[in-house]
């Protein structure tokens, strides 16, 4: 219960931060709310408005958001086995396949509890995320210059908070380090939005290097 509350507060705050960031990036109220209603996966939304604000084209911006959303396919895979949803329900359940609902559903002891956990978390976060997005977007207008309030630091802080628990082993740290180098190094020379996509290549590169090192270790 305390966990659920903590998740709720965190999601509510990032929804608010997203609304403010999106409005500060020049998106209209309609556009901001459309993203939260229809995309409903926070990191992708932050990435999209950030890329658009930096002057990225619509397709490069969407590509970055898309690749961040790909992890949800793997959550869906785990959930479809766990929840055993009827085929007709899956298109509706799909929209709620995100980090938080997966974490809650996977933590339940029985299928019934997992289903309840998925639906309750999905519904409450969906309502909360969209309400706080709306409030943030509305609030951004009355705040005036959002930069003066330091709100442009909210986006990267959200990313860092999402990233930190993923840096479990040297492999993840190597990927993150290489991605930072690529992302910053290519920024001045490539069109906006493209450097982030190039930075994603850090993942296969490090994985390949890891595989080679292990392969060589086996031979010795």
């Amino acid at each position: 219960m305390r966990d659920a509350l903590g998740v709720g507060v965190a999601v509510g705050l990032s929804g608010f931060a997203f609304g403010v960031t999106s409005a500060g990036s020049g998106l209209t109220l309609m556009q901001t709310c459309a993203l939260s209603l229809l995309v409903f996966t926070g990191a992708s939304q932050f990435a999209l408005v950030g890329a658009l604000a930096a002057g990225g084209g619509p397709f490069t911006a969407a590509a970055g958001a898309f690749f961040l959303g790909v992890r949800n396919a793997f959550y869906g895979l785990r959930l479809s086995q766990l929840l055993a949803l009827p085929r007709a329900v899956r298109p509706f359940a799909a929209q709620w396949v995100i980090d938080e609902t997966t974490a809650v559903a996977l933590a339940q002891p029985t299928r019934r509890a997992a289903r309840i956990g998925f639906v309750v978390t999905g519904l409450s976060l969906y309502v909360l995320w969209n309400l706080t997005t709306l409030l943030g977007a509305l609030g951004a207008g009355t705040l005036g210059d959002t930069d003066a309030w330091g709100l442009d630091a909210a986006g990267p802080a959200v990313f860092l908070a999402l990233l930190a628990p993923m840096l479990k082993t040297g492999t993840e740290r190597a990927v993150a380090g290489l991605a930072v180098l690529l992302g910053l190094g290519l920024l001045p020379v490539l069109p906006a939005g493209v450097p982030v996509l190039m930075a994603a290549l850090a993942a296969p590169v490090v994985l390949w290097a890891d595989g080679r090192r292990k392969g060589r270790g086996d031979e010795e």
Partner: protein, 103 residues
């Protein structure tokens, strides 16, 4: 208009991957390499995005108040502060440094 195109493409793409996970038979995505890659790509994207949104101003690299804010967030994370405090620390420190007229 461009913004709506970006929104439309993102909406379709993000929904498609969510649905794909529920519909695709297990086994297709269960190969170890695919799973490893799927876990590492978000790491790369989040790291690059964090760095860019902290140090980029358009296509120019800059060091301003946001770096101090991100540093505060990092300290909060190391201290295992809850998500709320991490973001609040970044926002408050950035605003504070700007108010002092540094960044």
């Amino acid at each position: 208009m461009n913004v709506w195109i970006a929104i439309g493409v993102t909406v379709l793409g993000c929904y498609a991957v969510k649905l794909a996970g529920l519909l695709v038979p297990a086994g297709v995505l269960e190969r170890p390499v695919v799973k490893r890659l799927a876990a590492l790509v978000p790491v790369a994207l989040l790291a690059a995005l964090t760095a860019q949104q902290t140090f980029a101003d358009g296509q120019v690299l800059v060091l301003d108040a946001r770096a101090a804010g991100l540093g505060a967030a990092a300290v909060a994370l190391v201290l295992r502060a809850p998500f709320l405090l991490v973001v609040a620390a970044a926002v408050l420190v950035t605003a504070g440094v700007r108010a002092m007229g540094v960044g």
